[in-house]
């Protein structure tokens, strides 16, 4: 059975890109969220195997969402998607419970490697 993924990013463009990369690798995209609070809500209802999480989002940012999700499910597997120069934020996200990160612009191979590490 293929792994289920929840893709969180405020940009449709980025969600499309991440989804395409994962779909082509055989994952099942079960949901998309455009801000942190949607991500938390959808995580609770969809219980995906993996979450890809943008950091800068309106309403609730990605790090806050990671905290909320891991509070609900300490086993949650979350992959942060960060822009270059956000190392401090990535560290914070990892402390909050994120398992790994990829840096934009995405290279499909890098994304898939990171996903495998998180799921591994």
């Amino acid at each position: 059975m293929s792994h289920t993924v929840l893709v969180c990013d405020d940009a449709v463009f980025m969600r499309a890109m991440v989804s395409d990369i994962l779909l082509q690798a055989g994952f099942e995209i079960v949901g998309e969220a455009e801000n942190g609070s949607q991500a938390v809500e959808k995580y609770k209802s969809l219980r995906p195997d993996l979450v890809t999480m943008d950091i800068i989002m309106p309403e609730m940012g990605g790090i806050e969402a990671v905290r909320e999700i891991t509070k609900f499910d300490p086993q949650a597997r979350i992959l942060m998607c960060s822009a270059m120069g956000q190392q401090a934020l990535v560290d914070e996200a990892v402390q909050a419970g994120a398992k790994d990160f990829v840096v934009k612009p995405f290279q499909p191979s890098r994304v898939l490697e990171a996903v495998q590490r998180v799921l591994g």
Partner: protein
């Protein structure tokens, strides 16, 4: 990676972000800082991410520089001031151009060096040792969140194709109904009725799916108004009402230009300078309102200013100079004023300014609006202001029309302006000096025999019919031979015959395959 198919997504989303940036910068300029800076940061951050993925390095670099400055502003290390806001406006213009270039002229590398160095000057007002505390943005629910409904993005060309197909289907439906009527089979009739209902529902759904809220275009205007007012040295308080009103996407793109002209006209000719306003007891900043409102199957767009209004004496003087009125004319009715200032090349501006006053004001707006099947009205009271009203159909592709016959030819009269129809009985019409008029409920309205207007020879052998139309609150009667009913027609654009009077706005195909011209009611009157 094959990025070509992401281009469209990139363009759509970055335009939305640019629009948010423009609005937030205006808020920042008004001193509503904290929330707008957070939004600005997120918007350029999103553009940066997308541009990076697309390999648009100039766009990515510029948005990175803007993001850095927004970060400094957000953390309070740099305080917003007029110079910074000005630089940010310039940067957002450069960003917009850079995005266009990246997508459309990939060979041209956008020149961002200058604007980047201006951004850096502001950014580096920070002590170099400073490390910004990078906190996650949290903000109250914002305007853009209210707008976000669950959407699926569809290539707009696909919707256009669907619309074309449904147009063809409407024609086929007509043919089906004709054949059904001829055959007279009950089962076939029921089926044809069902098919007709279903086609109507599909059509309504497709029309609805093409509807977009007017803010998608109106959001460009606050910036335009600000810049124009600045160039003119005027103060303006600009409001937009009815942002959420939805119209056909194709129509919305078409009305952007006439609305822009009308706004410029209002700023240039309508609103006075702060000193002039103070002298006449008004607030220093002029009030300019752009509103959209739904009225049955039309959308009404109004541009209202509280400026000096149109001086009939000035219009009369200019009309005399141009020989448009008799030398003896001493006053003009409101309608005459409107008709005069809508004439191509008519301008009372004492000098040509960069903004308007080249005589390309109201006449351009008028002809654009008319070509879209709408009508323009202008009301003004001297000293109090002017209101320009555009009434437009909600969609351009399919309209309801009255099919009328003149001799053996059929014509379609769009229902947008039709008030009522009635039979022309003996004695209803009077003719004076070749001009006809009809009395309708104690009101005398001018009447136009379309046979005469279109040069159809012979006379009508049955009792004629009158279509009462209302254009810009002026009523007129159009006299035709006969009506063949109302129907939905699919508008096809056509190239008008050269040098012929432009009485038609397009053509349509009837269910039997024959072409029918669509009357441009305003130009006939």
């Amino acid at each position: 990676m094959d990025t070509a198919r992401y281009t469209e997504l990139f363009v759509t989303e970055s335009r939305e972000k640019l629009s948010e940036i423009s609005n937030s910068l205006l808020q920042l300029e008004r001193g509503e800082s904290s929330e707008s800076i957070a939004e600005l940061f997120r918007a350029v951050h999103t553009i940066k991410g997308m541009a990076g993925a697309m390999g648009y390095s100039a766009v990515a670099e510029l948005s990175h520089e803007m993001e850095t400055l927004f970060d400094r502003l957000r953390s309070g290390v740099v305080k917003p001031n007029a110079a910074i806001v000005e630089t940010l406006f310039a940067a957002s213009d450069a960003l917009s151009e850079g995005i266009d270039d990246a997508v459309n002229n990939p060979d041209r590398s956008a020149d961002i060096v200058h604007v980047v160095s201006r951004l850096r000057e502001h950014t580096e007002e920070t002590p170099k040792t400073f490390t910004a505390e990078f906190t996650v943005l949290q903000s109250a629910p914002q305007a853009s969140a209210e707008r976000s409904v669950r959407h699926v993005r569809i290539d707009s060309r696909r919707l256009d194709r669907l619309m074309n197909l449904i147009g063809e289907l409407v024609i086929v439906r007509g043919r089906l109904n004709d054949i059904t009527a001829r055959i007279g089979d009950a089962g076939l009739e029921d089926t044809a009725v069902d098919a007709t209902k279903l086609i109507a529902s599909i059509q309504a759904e497709i029309v609805a799916s093409r509807m977009v809220p007017v803010w998608q275009v109106f959001d460009r205007f606050p910036r335009l108004v600000r810049d124009t007012a600045r160039n003119l040295g005027k103060q303006v308080d600009f409001h937009i009402e009815g942002k959420e009103i939805e119209v056909d996407r194709a129509l919305l793109e078409e009305i952007a230009e006439p609305v822009m002209h009308a706004l410029r006209n209002a700023l240039d000719h309508g609103l006075e300078t702060a000193e002039e306003r103070a002298a006449s007891g008004k607030s220093p900043a002029g009030r300019l309102t752009l509103s959209a409102e739904r009225d049955r199957a039309t959308v009404v767009v109004r541009i209202t200013d509280d400026g000096r209004g149109i001086d009939p004496a000035l219009v009369l003087g200019r009309a005399r100079e141009l020989g448009l009125v008799d030398a003896g004319t001493s006053s003009l009715s409101d309608d005459e004023v409107i008709r005069l200032i809508s004439r191509p090349g008519f301008s009372t501006a004492r000098e040509v300014s960069e903004i308007s006053g080249r005589g390309v004001g109201i006449d351009i707006v008028d002809s654009r609006v008319r070509s879209l099947g709408g009508s323009l009205d202008l009301r003004s009271s001297p000293g109090q202001g002017t209101t320009v009203t555009m009434r437009l159909p909600l969609t351009l592709a399919i309209i309801r029309a009255l099919i009328a016959r003149l001799d053996s030819e059929l014509y379609a009269i769009p229902l947008t302006h039709v008030v009522e129809t009635f039979q022309l009985r003996d004695g209803m019409m009077t003719t004076d000096d070749g001009r006809h008029s009809i009395v309708v409920r104690d009101e005398s309205v001018p009447a136009i025999r379309l046979r005469e207007r279109f040069g159809v020879t012979g006379s009508c052998e049955v009792l004629e019919q009158v279509v009462l139309v209302d254009i810009a609150e002026r009523r007129s009667g159009l006299v035709v031979d006969e009506f063949l009913g109302q129907q939905e027609i699919v508008v096809k654009q056509f190239d008008p015959v050269r040098d012929a009077p432009q009485y038609f706005s397009g053509a349509t195909i009837m269910s039997d395959g024959s072409p029918v011209l669509i009357l441009d009611t305003a130009s006939v009157i």
